[in-house]
């Protein structure tokens, strides 16, 4: 019994890391990153490939984060010139292209075969191989990341992020290099997602390109929209809520013939929730349209 709940807990912890990254980007700074899953995938593949090549867990994790950050830095150069929905769309494209690369560059990623046998984490000789250890170790990381992001959000830096979300033009008019700040935000969010991806890979020990679809981004989007007014804490809490909800459906006594409807019905519910939350205005998730500079 406990192991199953621990598994849900670990899944929730991983999704929480992923969603908190997106909350920092969308919720705090207004960066509509519809390709967040790409960073999840890059972190997962990088850490898996490195540790399969024989590097110790901590080294591959560290390098994976470095790679995730580096890739974000690079793609940020062109894509961060875009704003609002255009940025979102370009990131959506980036996410899809990344998945295609995982799928097609089989020399590196083994393509659709996926990567089996990813080593479990081990810290200085202490093996993380049982569920309680996973739950505790990942839990500590979640708390750390949560505290760090909360620290950022409440700091002068977070103040700039909020300013950019409220009115980017105005922020640049008071001397803020908004491109630079958005980049810092995107990289930080990407690192959280990359960490989540790497932890997911070392936990499940098998990854394949089909794990990194738009659906994961939409799930995180739903989580942060649900988290609404409560910022990063909201994202953390609603991650566990949404994962619990998904798993909870397993226990409802649906008739057998209904089985094949569960997945689409669940997606329908997600869609409906998004629409309803938007219609009822999710507080400070998104500001109303700012008055435009008119001529």
């Amino acid at each position: 019994m406990t192991n199953y709940f621990l598994h849900i807990l670990v899944s929730g912890e991983i999704i929480a890391l992923f969603a908190m990254g997106l909350q920092l980007e969308i919720g705090e700074t207004g960066l509509y990153n519809f390709g967040h899953v790409a960073f999840f995938g890059i972190g997962a593949y990088a850490s898996s490939l490195l540790s399969l090549a024989g590097l110790p867990f901590l080294v591959s994790l560290g390098l994976a984060l470095l790679i995730t950050g580096g890739v974000t830095w690079l793609i940020g150069i062109p894509i961060l010139r875009l704003r609002g929905d255009y940025f979102g769309l370009a990131m959506l494209g980036f996410g899809e292209i990344t998945r295609k690369i995982f799928l097609n560059e089989a020399w590196l990623t083994k393509g659709p075969m996926g990567l089996p046998g990813i080593p479990r984490p081990s810290l200085f000789g202490f093996d993380i191989h049982t569920l309680p250890r996973f739950a505790v170790f990942y839990g500590i990381l979640v708390i750390l990341v949560y505290l760090m992001i909360r620290h950022i959000v409440r700091s002068p830096l977070g103040r700039v992020f909020t300013a950019i979300r409220d009115d980017e033009l105005s922020a640049s008019a008071i001397g803020k290099n908004t491109y630079g700040f958005r980049k810092v935000c995107l990289i930080t969010g990407a690192l959280a997602a990359g960490l989540a991806g790497a932890l997911w890979a070392h936990y499940i020990t098998f990854i394949s390109p089909s794990d990194f679809t738009l659906n994961e981004t939409i799930l995180a989007l739903l989580i942060i929209v649900l988290g609404g007014n409560w910022g990063i804490t909201g994202a953390l809490v609603s991650s566990f809520f949404v994962i619990g909800f998904q798993e909870g459906l397993r226990f409802l006594p649906f008739p057998d013939t209904f089985g094949r409807y569960i997945a689409p019905v669940q997606q329908m519910i997600f869609g409906l929730i998004l629409v309803l939350l938007v219609l009822n205005r999710p507080g400070n998730l998104i500001k109303e349209r700012p008055a435009s500079a008119s001529d």
Binding site: A90, L92, K100, M268, V278
Partner: protein
């Protein structure tokens, strides 16, 4: 060489359909200023409704099924506007974007619940294509080409010569102009939905006739349509039409250069390239501090 001409033809057929999607999407984007993810589901709905009318028990003719399907999609679009988008007229475009994403999820999965995930085909008899020199074309594809051409021609007449059509194009093309229409703007928005829905439904039926249909066909076509919109410049109908052809051609010719596994990513590549080098689109003129 054969493969080049065949790809060119396939690109033209696909392009003529994408042009329809893009023209509708750009009108909505120009008028309401948000990326309507649910536009893909209008496309899907067109294809599915036509399919349902053609199959037992109704067994209507393709033409009649098409007309009913288009009507159905127009009603669906107006319903979406009434229940969701009209309540967000002055909201941040990103809120509308998320709402349309939610609608899209809702509708495509509803379709899956109702009809299952499997790939379906219109009940047309299987035929060898006709050979014209280096290219092969089926009779269905010939029909597709002239239906698309006719639709584009009618759209041209509407936007160019009718009073309301001119107003629609004006508003879509120039946001500042929208203010001068004042009270009339709600009416114009409704017309835009009707036109966009017709274009999406006709295109959806054609794309299903050319290939096949399934509940999640919307998103792929939406991405292509949006790439075309960007080529044309947001709100520019003629640009979007040309953009549709460019996307159709580059997808089909691009695989001669790129590994074939990246075919579906080509539209994304184009989107990113255009956004980077000419955010206002190849034919677009956008002004004002956004």
């Amino acid at each position: 060489m054969t493969i080049f001409f065949q790809s060119l033809l396939d690109g033209l057929i696909a392009g003529s359909i994408y042009a329809l999607f893009a023209a509708g999407l750009t009108l909505v984007y120009g008028t309401l200023h948000f990326i309507n993810f649910a536009h893909g589901e209008l496309i899907m709905a067109g294809a599915f409704l036509a399919y349902l009318f053609m199959m037992p028990p109704l067994l209507l003719s393709p033409l009649l099924s098409g007309i009913f399907a288009v009507t159905g999609v127009v009603l669906l679009a107006l319903l979406m506007d009434k229940t969701v988008f009209s309540r967000l007229r002055n909201a941040n475009p990103l809120l509308l974007l998320i709402a349309s994403l939610g609608l899209s999820l809702l509708l495509q999965n509803l379709a899956q619940v109702l009809w299952g995930a499997k790939i379906r085909a219109f009940p047309f008899p299987l035929q060898r294509g006709k050979v014209f020199g280096p290219v092969v074309i089926t009779s269905v594809q010939i029909t597709i080409l002239w239906v698309a051409a006719l639709t584009i021609f009618l759209l041209y007449l509407f936007l160019k010569f009718s009073r309301i059509g001119k107003a629609v194009r004006g508003v879509a093309d120039n946001p500042v102009l929208a203010k001068t229409f004042g009270v009339e703007s709600e009416k114009i928005i409704r017309i835009v939905w009707v036109v966009a829905a017709i274009l999406a439904a006709v295109g959806g039926i054609l794309v299903a006739a050319d290939t096949n249909l399934e509940p999640h066909m919307g998103i792929v076509n939406l991405v292509r349509a949006f790439a075309a919109v960007l080529i044309g410049g947001a709100g520019n109908v003629w640009g979007a039409l040309i953009g549709g052809f460019i996307i159709g051609l580059s997808e089909n010719l691009g695989v001669l250069l790129l590994p074939i596994g990246y075919k579906d990513a080509i539209a994304f590549f184009i989107i990113i390239l255009i956004l980077l080098f000419r955010p206002e689109g190849l034919f677009g003129t956008r002004w004002g501090v956004r």
